[in-house]
Amino acid sequence: MIPTSHYLVVSLLLFTTGVIGVLTRRNVIIVLMSIELILNAVNINLVAFSQHLASLDGQIFAIFVITDAAAEAAVGLGIIIAFFRNRQTLLADEMDLLRW
């Protein structure tokens, strides 16, 4: 059997990759995809601990996280389409209407 810590390390690497993507990319669609990476890393952790503790609660939480990811993707992509229609751009640093 594989120790739980190995799953934790995989999840950590995916999480950090996602954080780097959110912080550095300018394309909003890729930022959203990086958020999906982060949510996946969380799910791996939840399922790994679910097996570690021999309890299914972690898997239930992973299902709720997937539901959240679906809702977030739908609304986020809707916002991106509305924004693109108004400003003809997808760059995160040009979304500065509220900047002082």
Partner: protein
Amino acid sequence: MTNEILFYFFAGLAVLGGVLVVTMRNAVHSAVFLITTLLATAGLYLTLNAEFLFVVQIILYVGGIMVLFVFVIMLVNLDVALHQVQFNRQTWVAGLLSFALLAELLAAVALARSYGEENWLFAAPHVPTVTAEGNTEQIGRLLFQNYVIPFEIASILLLVALVGAVVMGKKRI
């Protein structure tokens, strides 16, 4: 032994795909590598005896969310975007801080080795006893008995997201 080989294969695939998602210039390529990562994650669920989540991951993530992503990329396809700078000005600071975060979390996992009774995280996990009913039945029972109120709240969340997406997609907002 097969379990170990599968785990390292899927783990390597997931991390490699994740790195490529973040570094690719073209959003379509990023989406393809994100699909790779999601499928590899599904494989990881399989090595964790979570068969229901394995199927949900493939149907919902790869079949639902990623199709939505690819569809939106097609709708807003910009050839100009490919020739623009892809990274922010804050890239170096952000990368440095992220690696600091990674080092910190890895240190936390390594530190857990020195605590606890008999290397708890590092020993082989508790192997679930094989029961008469499978993973899906157990999850269904839990979801509709212990977690029925969160389940209903999740359905309200999905309804709100549905309305929100429709409103955002309208011609004039």
